[in-house]
Symmetry: C2
């Protein structure tokens, strides 16, 4: 299970065993019943542990959300960076962004589904600042890459619009796929989504 390896990379070692188990079962609960409908008791039952243990490790429900959310975000970001490295032209950068995103979602649908659900909670809660910093960081990396491959003047829309133009359609389709509204895997449309994004940013 990819869920386990993602967790082991972020919470390694034998000591963190229960911590990982709680996160794993919480992720399952959140995806099956929704975040709000999932009770601490339900998570407790699935882990055969106690509320004390859960609160010891995470402080509160929000803490569980945060741990899961940033674990997913980190993995997604690594994936993104890995794709971006190989891009040498502006067009390849755009393709990297779209394809890395689509690939990650298809590879980890449970994490992606959770990420969509949890984002609004995170934005309101105490982890907002951390999310903002990571977004700023990714944004900066992308901007630098754009500068590195040069010829950014070939792009018509203002930079403020670019992230939405590049990733908007893919995000929308992935969300539809994760919720079952469409059947075809985003992976099958990867190239089409990427080339559509590329066309969309050209004047």
């Amino acid at each position: 299970m990819s869920e386990i390896s993602i967790l082991e990379r972020r919470f390694p070692g034998r000591r963190a065993g229960l911590k990982r188990e709680i996160l794993l079962q919480a992720l399952a609960c959140f995806n099956e019943s929704g975040i709000e409908a999932t009770t601490i008791d339900a998570i407790k039952a699935r882990c055969e542990t106690s509320v004390g243990a859960i609160y010891h490790h995470f402080g509160n429900k929000e803490g569980i959300l945060g741990a899961l959310f940033f674990t997913a975000l980190d993995d997604q970001h690594e994936h993104f960076v890995h794709y971006l490295e190989r891009a040498g032209t502006l067009e390849e950068v755009v393709f990297s962004v779209v394809l890395s995103y689509v690939d990650w979602v298809v590879k980890h649908p449970d994490w992606a589904r959770f990420q969509f659900q949890a984002r609004s909670s995170i934005v309101k809660g105490p982890h907002y600042q951390e999310l903002k910093e990571r977004n700023t960081k990714t944004y900066r990396e992308l901007k630098e890459k754009f500068a590195a491959v040069g010829s950014a003047q070939k792009i018509a829309p203002p930079f403020e619009l670019l992230p939405s133009l590049i990733i908007g359609a893919s995000e929308n389709y992935c969300r539809a796929w994760l919720s079952g509204r469409v059947q075809t895997s985003p992976k099958a449309y990867g190239e089409q989504l990427a080339s559509a994004a590329w066309r969309s940013i050209q004047g």
Copy 2:
């Protein structure tokens, strides 16, 4: 206040006065504090009413969410239909979809913000079926319009992808604007978003 006129159209008459007031204050609470953090007591206090009255009109918190959500969806849909009527070519259809969406969001930011927040709750809750039916209806209207203006063969991507390609970027940017991540009004980028959508669906 546009919030009031939207509510009066859907819940008209003197008898529904308190009902509208509850919805109005609930909308404000949800946008200020978030849906989960808003308590029935807080809404009660702002309306100077009682929990009994609230539960009499809406059954439960979910009922308030549903009433607000579908009120917003209806208004948005009317707006959409009105724009779509005037489109005579395929390109104009795409522009109508994007511009009607962007205009509505900018015109009713509080309703739009709430809509984004509430969608996941609705999808999980008992109103899911109703939302699904409305989406199907809109989807069908769009498909018929596409057929009516003909020349749909000029479009490269499969129909399954089209909604995401057309509205994805705009939705993404509007969401960013409503949460304060970007400053420039989507209205200012309306034409650019529309033409980007149009380029993106061409082979």
